[in-house]
Amino acid sequence: MSSYSKKIALIAVTLVATLVVGACGGGSSGANSSSSDTTLTVGLPSEPSTLDFTSNGDSPLPLLYNVYETLVKVNQDGALIPSLAKSWDISPDRKTYTFHLVDNATFSNGDPFTAQDAKFSIERVKTWTDSSKDAMDVVQSVTANDDHTLVVNLSRPSNDWLFRMTTRIGVMFTPNGVGDLANNAIGTGPYKFGSWKRGDSITLTRNDNYWGNKAGFTSIVLKFFKDATSANNALLSGTINAIGLIQSPDALDQFKNNPKYQIVQGTSNLEVLLAMNNSQGPMANKDMREAVKYGINHRALIDTCYAGYGTQIGSMVPPTDPWYEDLTGRYPYDPAKAKQLLAASGEADQTIQLTVPTLPAYQQCGQVVQSQLQQLGFKVNLTQLEFPAVWFQKVFTDGQYDLNITGHIQPRDICSVFEDKSYYTHYGNPAFKALCDKADAGTADEQVAYMKQASELLVDDAAADWLWLMPNLMVADNDIKGLPKNSVTESFDLTGVSRS
């Protein structure tokens, strides 16, 4: 080798080495490098498109309960508990709610929280463009009796209204804090909205004037990873402390036997629904609907589609709802019975149109459902429809489907999905609607009893099949405490999180 080419070769190697090593000085940093560091960095799979959840269907997840508070909230077991309302009374006719508000809450801009703010917030829902506002239609009048007593009159008794007050429509705003909802959030919660670096992260900082128990961290950074591998690597390398709302459970194994990490697995409100068109086509025949329900091997389906994570449910009720009962035994996997019902239905030569929106979690499952049914002799044609536009038009608006797989994420959505015959499930049994109405109007015990009957009626009618309930999955550093195990409402509730 000549001296020149040796030199050049050496330069090549040195340059590469410099680039690799040169910038590596500075030691390890990251979220868990020092004990005084009280920043919690959580990776999430999707970024909101705007902070203004009053104007479009976007999720209030990062802000609800953490920054914005409601009068009442839901606990991990699905029970309603006090928040900005210390307590509430319901009149005997169940149409008047009197809320007794806390007297020491302030908004992060310094405004004290009073009953006038509550009145303002509830009345303002009418001006929202988000469709969740409909739940406020039942409100007839709102009166602030004094600074800390709020009276709400309903046009009819409604248990569901009180529950919806735990979701976005129940958020308490100050009139001085709604000027720029898309970019700034002013609430009474344990964290204040700090900043939003679009495409990267949202930072919440501790509200030192919080009226309740102080937050466990000086700041929380919610960092958005569109790529699951990037999120996993960020956790493994200590850049973040936790990953919430995991949607790719197949990669969880690498954290399983590692003592540095904990996996939190609970339930969510996201029912993966195999909707059946109850009004037209082959699935209008009850024998066919039952045949499909007996013909699906749910355990195998969950194993294939969602790496075994997920809960079998027999009706549209997650275990955290007060009227949950295990109805999975009503249609056990029974291929012989499925074949028999298929033959008896007289529809066996009909081709079933199975539609799936182009969302990764459901696309693969469409194929599994198709192949399970085909093995039993069903003729199934699987079509993937672009989500949202094409799917919305064909399935949701035009009802051009026989079977369809979609997740329903709204909390307590059993009535809204099935009570209206014009909704895309096209079920609308009047008896079901009557039970929903009675449950809404009754006492707490009556509500539970009627909702159980409604849920059972759906199963009796074989109105649909519930493929599985999505898990609420998180993985976090081992010393993080208080992560919300179950996802019970629209919030990603970090108010109780701390480091041990």
């Binding site: 020149y4 080419s5 690799v20 390890s28 479009n56 269907g57 469709s131 790529d227 493994l236 536009a389």
Partner: protein, 316 residues
């Protein structure tokens, strides 16, 4: 003659830009679904949707909408996003420097790898070591950038813990963090491009080494490397510079992927996010920006050709 030539190339550039704008606009317009409905969510009422359509100007005819859009682009006021309802101009403006820094750093990595590697490959092209390097560069050419990114992260961030696995910090906020976070994405993008450019460097140097003036220099007693450095490099540089400009286009497009893997808030992640949100007017603007960038690079290369190479000037 030169001026006429430049004017002609600029004219072609503007015409291409206009034609691409029509194609981009047309493609977005024929996509199924109503952007206002998508923006408001599935349960929005018809009156809300109609209101938003009016607000976005979606109730106008297609030519009117096209001209509105074009006017917005030319005056640098591209309007408001359908979905996030924020101004698009400032959003793009904050992301351009991020992508430029990433692409610039990757280009430096690519050059730093390509020139020495290509030179050594050329000088030793008949020897085993040269062949081995060639094979190695072939691997670099074949590896997709996102895979290179994941492998680099697995090694340097997860296993060794030397560098952050992802993220972006503005250099004004924390320069050390900025530099540490830039290394892996710049390497992921730059190494693969470097491997490609190295092959251009190799063949162009091999070409030069066969020239008479090198033989003359060797006859005067120069070592091959000496002859190359003193007489050959400048000649070899011309095709390499062309290759660099062309690879710049690929770097820009590669940044779209790398920004996603490394969670970098640049133009590329704005594009993928907006596609995910069906935020069609942002997609339209960003695609147009990328098209314009590619065309500008090509225009600059064309103009440089004409200026550098008298033969091309005569031919046209």
């Amino acid at each position: 003659m030169l001026l006429w030539n430049l004017a002609r190339r600029t004219g072609i550039f503007v015409a291409t830009l206009l034609a691409s704008s029509i194609v981009v606009f047309g493609l977005m317009a024929v996509l199924p679904g109503d952007p206002a409905r998508v923006a408001l969510g599935l349960n929005a009422t018809d009156s809300d949707v109609a209101h938003l359509r009016e607000q976005f100007g979606l109730d106008q005819s297609l030519p009117e909408r096209y001209l509105d859009w074009l006017r917005g682009l030319i005056t640098l006021h591209p309007g408001t996003s359908y979905v996030t309802q924020t101004a698009i101009g400032p959003e793009i403006a904050t992301r351009i420097p991020v992508t430029l820094i990433l692409v610039g750093a990757s280009m430096l990595v690519a050059i730093a790898v390509a020139i020495p590697l290509g030179t050594v490959m050329a000088l030793r092209h008949r020897r085993a070591s040269g062949l081995a390097l060639s094979a190695l560069s072939q691997v670099g050419v074949a590896v997709p950038t996102f895979l290179a990114g994941i492998l680099l992260v697995t090694l340097f961030a997860v296993r060794l813990g030397w560098l952050p696995s992802s993220g972006w910090t503005s250099p004004q906020d924390d320069f050390e963090m900025f530099a540490r976070q830039l290394v892996l994405p710049a390497l992921a993008l730059g190494l693969c491009q470097g491997a490609i450019i190295a092959r251009y460097v190799r063949s162009s140097i091999l070409d030069v080494l066969r020239q008479d003036y090198i033989r003359t220099a060797r006859a005067k007693g120069r070592q091959p490397a000496q002859a190359l450095i003193h007489h050959g490099l400048r000649n070899a540089a011309v095709p390499v510079v062309t290759a660099l400009a062309l690879q710049l286009v690929y770097l820009l497009l590669g940044a779209v992927v790398i920004e996603r893997v490394f969670v970098i808030p640049g133009i590329g992640s704005l594009l993928t996010d907006s596609v995910g949100l069906r935020d069609l007017n942002v997609v339209q603007d960003v695609v147009m920006l990328l098209v314009a960038a590619v065309l500008v690079i090509n225009l600059v290369v064309d103009i440089l050709y004409v200026i550098i190479d008298p033969r091309l000037r005569a031919a046209s």
